[in-house]
């Protein structure tokens, strides 16, 4: 894992001092809320329906146990005892007091964390594959490139007042576990003639005009990587639309120019930028790479046999919530934050502490946050799985539902969010309850269900195999159903099925769609595969009759 040196620490500490100064000026009435707003926003502090919300950056979703415990401490000390893990691999606290925020940032800085650029029209926290460093299919550890981007983008003087927010994801395998092409810039590490480089996609995103990013640069070597990023951003900063907030994302620019013309402009800008020497030397790449080496002592081991426990709760959990590791005898464990009836992505301070303890004891002191709002223990010996499972059962964290219908992504919705049309959390809870029968869920198989409370799409509804979108219809909450989206390597955008539903109606509709799938599927087909084969009609018929 990356560790701060004196320079990283000095920069984050200076930021805490700066924000304390700004909050003091605000509390003393020296600056207006209007002037303060952009300052608090670049420190992750939003004003929401009931209180301030603080979003803490978890760079590429990676943490150690000490950092995870600090998140529990903040939940306990400054919030109501819980936190909410987000689709961008961050954590949010919903009940924060403005006057506490400098102390929270100071606590975070003491464990090499911050809330820098977690909101505002700047380059946001970089996201990545939650199995980075552990997945057998990666060509390199994407976090090395993500950390390079983190440093380059932090307080970037030219790109802190972009037309709109800017999100970057880095992956390093063909299987896309980070919705890479639904980001403003998506990077896939690939090899060419034995050299690792970046394949760069630009102009994806969700929101009201969802788009899958086209490829803009097929291969960039690391010595030109930051110059290329700088050129991509400069073209956007200069020419992205600023007249209409709904058309300000880079996806609109790339779409309006056409991918080929945008690529040409980037290439032209690159000629100017390359001369500036902004790319760090090989020694810096190697320094960062060393932090992401396989943890010491993680050596091949014999696999764990099931000893006649087939069909047990443990066996189901192991089958569903673990995946193979690069190193024999190891797995990565995904801990579900989606208990039936719970709030997707929420964890209590006690649960956060339990996960931190497990990481320290069993996962070489590492944790990851996934974009599906779950937590991963990346480096676990199979022989430790029974002990981990027992600890998770005791902490009510042992749901065996990863990628099943109850592993729902949901945005905060009308319960917290001032932009919402409709509630998301109660819909997620009702759907999970409807499908509470574990055997039925397993039989249905992989089904990604995603819910947003409005068109901003924080809950990724466009990318759900089944998506639910809250809309406002004459002052009452109404939900539209979308089918056929995917945020994976086969990225696609869901299509709206037809007229919307009320809260209970949408739960019924989801069930009808799922049951129709069960009658239509052929061997081994996931819901998404069946939908792609048969199209919308049979599902429409099942729902509307």
């Amino acid at each position: 894992m990356y560790r701060y040196d004196q320079y990283d620490q000095a920069i984050v500490d200076a930021r805490v001092a700066e924000f304390s100064d700004q909050v003091a000026r605000r509390l003393a009435g020296e600056i207006s809320e209007d002037e303060f707003k952009p300052l608090r926003l670049t420190n992750g502090l939003y004003l929401q329906l009931h209180a301030y919300m603080l979003r803490v950056a978890i760079p590429y979703g990676t943490m150690d146990s000490r950092q995870m415990r600090m998140l529990a401490h903040i939940a306990r000390t400054y919030d109501r005892g819980y936190g909410h893990f987000t689709t961008r691999q961050n954590i949010q606290y919903n009940w924060i007091k403005l006057e506490d925020s400098p102390a929270i940032l100071a606590d975070l800085a003491s464990v090499e964390m911050h809330a820098i650029q977690t909101s505002g029209n700047c380059i946001r926290n970089i996201s990545s594959d939650q199995f980075a460093g552990a997945a057998a299919d990666e060509v390199a550890d994407p976090r090395v490139w993500a950390e390079m981007l983190r440093q380059w983008s932090t307080f970037h003087p030219e790109f802190s007042y972009l037309p709109r927010k800017f999100k970057i994801a880095v992956i390093a395998a063909d299987e896309d576990r980070a919705a890479m092409r639904l980001h403003d810039i998506g990077i896939q590490l690939v090899t060419q003639d034995g050299v690792v480089g970046a394949r760069v996609f630009v102009g994806g995103g969700m929101g009201r005009t969802p788009m899958v990013a086209p490829e803009i640069v097929p291969f960039v070597r690391r010595e030109d990587f930051l110059a290329t990023m700088e050129a991509c951003l400069r073209v956007y900063n200069r020419h992205g639309r600023r007249d209409n907030i709904y058309k300000a994302r880079i996806k609109i620019l790339v779409h309006d120019l056409g991918a080929a013309e945008y690529a040409r402009q980037v290439e032209e800008e690159l000629v100017a930028v390359k001369a500036l020497g902004i790319d760090p030397p090989a020694a810096e790449w190697e320094r960062i790479e060393r932090f992401f080496a396989m943890p010491e002592g993680l050596a091949p081991k014999a696999s764990l046999a099931l000893d006649g426990k087939a069909g047990s709760a443990f066996a189901h959990w192991r089958a569903r919530n673990t995946r193979p590791h690069k190193v024999a005898g190891h797995v990565s464990v995904t801990i579900s934050l989606k208990p039936v009836g719970g709030i997707p992505g929420d964890a209590t301070a006690e649960q956060i502490d339990v996960m931190a303890d497990l990481a320290q004891r069993y996962s070489h002191d590492e944790l990851r946050v996934t974009h599906s709002q779950n937590i991963v223990l990346p480096h676990v010996a199979e022989s430790d799985l029974p002990a981990i499972y027992d600890a998770l059962v005791a902490a009510e964290l042992a749901d065996a539902n990863i990628d099943l219908v109850s592993d729902i992504i949901a945005c905060p919705g009308l319960d917290y969010c001032s932009l919402a049309n409709a509630r998301s959390i109660p819909v997620a809870q009702k759907i999970a309850q409807r499908f509470a029968d574990a055997e039925r869920q397993r039989d249905i198989g992989e089904l990604k269900l995603k819910i947003s409370g409005c068109i901003n799409a924080c809950g990724h509804h466009h990318a759900g195999h089944i998506g639910i979108l809250g809309v406002d219809r004459k002052g009452t909450e109404n939900y539209q159903l979308l089918l056929g989206g995917s945020g994976a390597e086969d990225a696609s955008l869901g299509k709206i099925m037809g007229p919307g539903f009320d809260e209970d109606g949408v739960v019924d509709a989801v069930e009808k769609v799922v049951e129709r799938y069960r009658t239509l599927r052929s061997d081994g087909e996931r819901f998404l595969d069946t939908y792609r084969r048969v199209g919308m009609e049979p599902f429409k018929e099942a729902v509307y009759g």
């Binding site: 320079y7 990283d8 700066e18 440093q151 003087p157 790109f159 007042y161 001369a275």
Partner: protein, 141 residues
């Protein structure tokens, strides 16, 4: 009005003209760029320019940062002024992009500006101000 200037030479006296006027008029030495003006149109003329004023009608409009860097990258060494909605907490970034004079529409709290400019001892990326990025310091800068 210029409130803050980081140059020791005489301040240019000629009023800044619009980009179109400048390109028409061969004797102008001061020019003003609006956010959507093309800074590269000035590149053939940099030698005779003493002042480029870049307009910030709204602080949220960050195009002027790119304009400034493009001009500095091309070797422009004259005065580069930020004019308009220029606030305390933007001045640090503007300095890094090459601005060396500031004409804010509303007066600045100079004590706060001073604190802001001294706050960050280190930077992650090279820009137009010559600050040494930490990756260079790490490897024997």
């Amino acid at each position: 009005m210029v409130e803050l200037r980081f140059r020791t030479d005489e301040a240019p006296e000629q009023p800044a003209v619009t980009l179109d006027a400048f390109l028409d008029q061969s004797n102008a030495t001061a020019v003003r760029l609006e956010p959507d003006d093309e800074p590269r149109a000035l590149l053939p003329h940099l030698d005779r320019i003493a002042l480029i004023e870049i307009a910030f009608p709204k602080f949220r409009d960050g195009r002027g940062y790119s304009s400034a860097r493009i001009l500095r990258e091309a070797g422009y060494a004259g005065e580069l002024r930020a004019e308009g909605d220029v606030l305390v907490d933007q001045i640090g970034f503007m300095r890094r992009c090459g601005f060396d004079s500031f004409a804010p529409a509303r007066p600045l709290d100079m004590a706060a500006v001073e604190r802001a400019l001294e706050r960050f001892a280190h930077v992650y990326q090279p820009a137009a101000d010559g600050a040494v990025p930490v990756w260079k310091l790490r490897h024997g800068g």
